[in-house]
């Protein structure tokens, strides 16, 4: 493993992030203008994310203060949240990033060590999550400094730790991802198994986060402290972060840094030594099953495109978890809300406030599920083939919208109906919880597709690139959040006029959705033709 090799390999990968290099080298004015819009969008989204994260940190800090818990709880809790997030995110994309990249053959034929290839790819995983970890840790650091005044040394140590904290969970995600890949390699439905494991992980995280649903500050502070204590037992280096930041402990800082770097180096050396074998395992597909040709069913071009699109969504764990997460979380939250009805209502100022918030919570999950945002990019090089077929461009786009609605529509409808019945909602609130999420489902699907058509990324080597690193998915994941949050705030502010405000919102959503859909269909052919694949 050589540093200059790692740097060279990492730099090449980094140039592909969000299409940065293509943009820099774009020859047309249009090509240069497009990213400017993305940069503004990214800045607004980053500001929004930082704001929400800061609010959350302030809430924890206040709970900690009023509940007489230790101030260390804040960095401990937020660092643990960061660790979990990086771990989950890495777990899902570890295998395709470490072993499935399209440049593997070329790189393996070059005189570079396999461990350097692995190291550069772990750094790619690290870089992918950096945006989210920064959004969690920076506001936490600022809030802690303002409220609890750590020493200058502690602040300096945290400034360095901020870059190191995500490294260890990245490596652990790589370890677990590799183990899952090996275990599932010989299993025909490995994608299904991975999807199942991912859902299981989400259930575990959501179940544990439900522990914070108690409204009493003292009890909440105790709960935060208990979670941190338990987390420290599972993730041993966690207290070292707080020791370095809160107490300025150089020893713990060095210990944490040493352990993180040692784990990184060890993983690279061990996996690097078996790299060829692992690439072989990942690429191996079950064969030998004797396929028998039977009477094939026929269908319309739209049906064929729809089936292809649906299969694409469920066959990729990265795609499924990135955009299906909301639709896994929505029913889980619904079940939790029904079971723990009393505790849930305690969290809100009144029962009515909860009833009015529910449509937006469901809509928030829907806005996280715009599968269309990378559906065009995922065609990749095959897009030329698709374009060569006698298929109407509108059908092509409609099939992508239909899959998005298949994923979000029924689930949100069911959740809405269950919540309306379980909480005995009044007619206006029941209508809102059923209709609003459906309107959001249409709008987010259409906007996601529009974003992807504006920022297509067709020249990827691994599917994780358009799913995680493209401008369109960034807009869909981060930029669509305010779509449900802002109207929720408006509705809460104008509570006395709830029926009027919520009806107006429904009309606006329907109108915007219809207009966007009309525009999309009107320019479908032209937009599809403009994509160079």
């Amino acid at each position: 493993m050589k540093l200059n090799e790692i740097f060279l390999l990492f730099r090449v990968q980094l140039l592909g992030f969000f299409g940065v290099n293509q943009t820099k080298k774009a020859k047309t004015a249009g090509g240069k203008r497009k990213p400017r819009g993305f940069v503004y969008m990214a800045l607004i989204s980053a500001a929004a994310l930082l704001y929400f994260s800061a609010q959350y940190s302030i809430m924890i800090a206040m709970t900690v203060e009023s509940g007489a818990a230790s101030p260390r709880t804040l960095p401990l809790f937020m660092s643990f949240a960061c660790v979990l997030m990086v771990l989950l995110s890495t777990l899902l994309k570890a295998s395709p990033t470490l072993f499935g990249e399209g440049d593997t053959d070329i790189l393996m034929s070059l005189p570079v060590r396999s461990s350097s290839i692995i190291a550069s790819r772990i750094l790619v995983l690290y870089a992918m999550d950096f945006f989210y970890t920064a959004a969690l840790l920076i506001p936490m650091g600022v809030v802690y400094v303002i409220r609890f005044h750590p020493s200058a040394l502690g602040i300096a140590l945290f400034a360095v730790l901020f870059f190191i904290i995500p490294l260890l969970p990245c490596v652990l995600g790589g370890v677990f991802g590799t183990i899952i890949e090996i275990l599932t390699a010989k299993f025909g439905r490995s994608n299904l198994l991975r999807n199942f494991l991912s859902v299981l992980f989400v259930v575990a995280v959501m179940a544990s986060s439900f522990a914070f649903s108690n409204g009493n500050p003292e009890q909440m502070a105790k709960t935060f402290e208990n979670v941190c204590n338990k987390a420290a037992k599972i993730y041993i280096p966690l207290p070292w972060i707080a020791d370095a930041f809160c107490d300025g402990s150089v020893v713990k800082f060095l210990l944490f840094t040493g352990v993180s770097l040692a784990a990184f180096a060890l993983f690279c050396l061990v996996v690097g030594s078996k790299f060829k074998t692992l690439v072989g395992v990942v690429r191996a597909r079950r064969s030998g099953r004797s396929y028998k040709l039977s009477a094939e069913k026929n269908g319309t071009p739209f049906k064929a495109l729809y089936r292809k699109e649906l299969k694409r969504f469920f066959s990729s764990n990265t795609y499924f978890m990135n955009f299906g997460f909301g639709m896994v979380a929505a029913p889980l939250s619904t079940i939790a809300a029904v079971i723990f009805r009393g505790r849930i209502l305690e969290m809100f100022s009144s029962d009515a406030a909860f009833m009015r918030a529910v449509p937006f919570i469901l809509s928030f999950f829907i806005c996280m599920s715009a599968t269309t945002a990378c559906s065009v990019s995922l065609e990749g090089r095959h897009f030329a083939l698709l374009r060569s077929l006698p298929v109407d461009a509108k059908d092509l786009l409609r099939s992508k919208l239909a899959v998005n609605l298949t994923v979000t529509g029924p689930v949100s409808l069911l959740c809405g109906a269950v919540l309306a019945a379980a909480f005995g909602m009044a007619p206006v609130e029941a209508c809102a919880v059923i209709v609003l999420p459906q309107l959001y489902a249409v709008l987010s699907a259409v906007l996601g597709l529009m974003a992807n058509l504006r920022y297509p990324m067709m020249d990827w080597k691994a599917e994780v690139t358009p799913i995680k690193q493209s401008a369109a998915t960034f807009i869909a994941v981060v930029g669509f959040m305010p779509l449900s949050v802002v109207p929720a705030i408006i509705v809460m502010v104008f509570t006395p006029f709830y029926p009027l405000v919520v009806s107006a919102l429904a009309v606006v959503l329907a109108l915007v959705g219809a207009l966007c859909y009309r525009s999309l269909m009107k320019h479908a052919e032209e937009k599809i033709r403009a994509i160079s694949a």
Binding site: E5, L8, V12, L15, G16, G19, N21, Q22, K25, K27, G102, D103, T104, D105, I106, M108, S109, L110, P111, V112, R113, A185, K186, K276, T277, G280, V281, A284, R285, R286, S287, G288, M458, D459, W460, K461, S532
Partner: protein, 240 residues
């Protein structure tokens, strides 16, 4: 230069792609490797390039085992896959600089070689463009230039003529001959038997992972054409 001794490769799926292959490429050889689709050509080339792990046998490059010291071997070779998967987000010149950095080529040498070969293959003007805008042929030309930049002793090429225009094909054949005259060697797979017959001094025919014939062109084909010989060898079940 290249010694493949009793090489076998079985994939995790259970498919035995290559079975007990032995052949030697000497300095100065232009060695054609021919066979049907799925015969084991790409598997063999990948194993020689250190891309693929293998179960049995030994592959030596300039006397060094690919298994024992892969990095040392890779410094002496250049491998071009059948479909060069080059980083499409990079520009041509960024890619060539990346390869030069990996092989630690001095700025003077890389400039001289890039200029020479880019002019020869007529893609100098496009080196500033992103690779995703290149045609298949241009990508292939870029892959060839990147494979020449470090002056390798052994060229391992998988279907190198696919996608090249007639002029580039002619140039590539010339470069192959030139390099072999300097003591280097080329081992490549192809389906274009006429090119193999005219260009190569040695040939090997592989069928379902087993070597069916190998040796100098004259030894293998005799008085028949290579195409006739290939058809005869692959239709009948006799081994080398």
């Amino acid at each position: 230069m290249l010694q493949i001794n009793d090489f076998s490769k079985t994939y995790a799926s259970g498919v035995k792609a290559v079975d007990g292959l032995t052949l030697h490429v000497e300095p100065g050889d232009i060695y054609a490797f021919i066979g049907h689709n799925g015969a084991g050509k790409t598997t063999t080339l990948k194993a020689c390039a250190g891309v693929l792990d293998f179960n049995e046998g030994e592959i030596l490059i300039d006397g060094v085992s690919v298994r024992d010291d892969p990095v040392a071997c890779k410094k002496k070779i250049a491998y071009i896959p059948d479909n060069p998967d080059i980083y499409e987000h990079l520009t041509g010149i960024q890619y060539l600089n990346f390869i030069s950095d990996i092989f630690k080529i001095s700025p003077v040498q890389r400039n001289e070689r890039i200029t020479r070969y880019a002019e020869l293959f007529e893609i100098k003007g496009s080196l500033g463009d992103v690779i995703s805008s290149y045609s298949h042929g241009m990508k292939q030309k870029l892959a060839i230039i990147s494979a020449l930049i470090h002056d390798p002793k052994l060229w391992l090429l998988d279907e190198p003529f696919v996608g090249l225009d007639p002029k580039a094909t002619h140039l590539l054949k010339g470069i192959m001959a030139e390099r072999c005259a300097e003591g280097c060697a080329v081992f490549f797979s192809t389906h274009v038997l006429e090119v193999a017959e005219k260009l190569c001094n040695k040939v090997a025919i592989i069928k379902q992972g087993r070597l069916m014939a190998s040796g100098t062109m004259e030894e293998v084909k005799g008085s028949a054409s290579l195409e006739e010989m290939f058809m005869e060898v692959t239709e009948n079940d006799h081994e080398a």
